[in-house]
Symmetry: none
Subunit: 240 residues, 2 copies
DNA sequence: GTATTTTTTAAAGAAATTGTTTAAAATAAG
DNA sequence: CTTATTTTAAACAATTTCTTTAAAAAATAC
């Protein structure tokens, strides 16, 4: 159904991070190449036309910034920079070095996938006048609307203020309606990759989320279903 | 139909668990090697290219975590970690040490088989660009539909609420229609390996399952057949 | 038809899971 | 630095599910 198969170059010196991202990106049908240092990365990036490069800023030898600058002498391959928290993320972005986007570590795998998709969508639009079908950033259910661009949730026209985790949880569930996720899976996908906390943390967030939705509409709150012994899901009640 | 024959290394210090899992995995046509301690496991894993390693966390000498870390210096063999309930399963997962998945003990053999299949499917996707999405998790019979993703059972369009065991029992039987299972076998496969309870327990669950199905459709309930002196099966009544 | 074996049914106590509350820890904002 | 918000964790309550038991019903064998 999708015409993905975009080729992505993944550059990070930590193998565990490469493996993590590779897994999540391959799940989306992207083809992944890897590099563990700047020199290799640059060489590969020049050698092959990737659709996108995920580039860690901090690298042994030539750092990400330098890789990007040198690459830019020859190619305009879209680049997303991965930066650790302190690493003056802002300077890295934009035209200083030619980065298209950046993500601060530690990230949640889900976030990376979304940003990759978004950037690929943007850059492919230039080449092909495609129908932008999959590109909708608004999820609409009965009683519930999530506008991801605006990071806004509306229940029956009333805006609901959610905390970041509440929002991400809702958004994640809403992206796969009717699919049950275990607490483990939710922690893995929605939380960042460094979090190994209590499973019941998910319950607490679900509780608050339901509470906030319920203030506006009972029906909206009831969309978040507990599947006993398994986990949670969002269910679109066809009869409403 | 399948091109299995994947090679799996099974690491656990308890022989009964190795034997149990070996039996179930060989039934799926996998080729199984075994190891009872960390040193042997690491040696074998480095010596041969396994398609997957099932690795107990708690091992005499070098524990599973260490085995995985050392292995990762050389290979990216997919690893599923087996952890006892208290053994901070979360930390072990993911990329702290490079585990691909984990299963909490005590598990049901069926669960292990499913997770092994899933991981092998994922990792083989790298080689062959198949479209994961085609794998529909819905079982459809006359009067009965099981959507495994949504963990939902419908009888004649009406949703039926099942408890976890009821659901698992039905799902298990439905995966092998027309095949009779003894109570012993059902307890072994659907329940976890530590459960040595009364055979009548199965009867009780069957009873309640039939009851719930019957509330919607007599015909659906009658699909669950008692084979006198042997056990139970699901039968797809061709005439309906 | 009666005896024997097996299955079904029903009910109650035990076990497990989830919901809720509260407080401490972490993070962001002023 | 202080304050406010958000996140996490722990404890307890409420709920749901599981298992066992025993009697009733059904199927089979003689």
């Amino acid at each position: 159904m999708e015409e993905k198969e975009a080729a992505i170059l993944l550059v990070d010196d930590e193998e565990r991070i490469r493996k993590l991202l590779k897994m999540y990106l391959e799940r989306e049908n992207y083809v992944i190449d890897e590099a563990g240092d700047g020199e290799t990365a640059l060489q590969k990036a020049l050698d092959k036309d990737y659709d996108l490069i995920l580039l860690d800023l901090m690298l042994p030898g030539m750092d990400g910034e330098e890789v990007c600058e040198k690459l830019r002498e020859y190619k305009a391959t879209p680049v997303i920079m991965l930066t650790a928290k302190g690493e003056e993320a802002n300077r890295v972005q934009g035209f200083e070095v030619g980065t298209d986007d950046y993500i601060v570590k530690p990230f949640s795998p889900r976030e990376v996938v979304l940003r990759v998709k978004a950037l690929l969508r943007r850059s492919s639009k230039t080449k092909f006048l495609e129908t932008e079908t999959t590109a909708t950033n608004v999820i609409v259910f009965p009683h519930l609307m999530i506008d991801h661009d605006a990071h806004r949730v509306k229940v029956d026209q009333h805006e609901v203020n959610l905390t970041p985790k509440e929002y991400e949880l809702l958004y994640y569930l809403a992206q796969n309606p009717d699919k049950v996720f275990s607490r483990e899976q939710l922690l893995k996908d929605v939380w960042n990759y460094e979090f190994f906390g209590d499973l019941r943390t998910v319950d607490t967030h679900v509780k608050r989320l339901r509470e906030k939705l319920n203030k506006v509409s009972e029906k909206a709150a009831e969309m978040i279903i507990t599947v006993w012994g398994v986990g949670y899901k969002i269910e679109v009640d066809s009869a409403t």
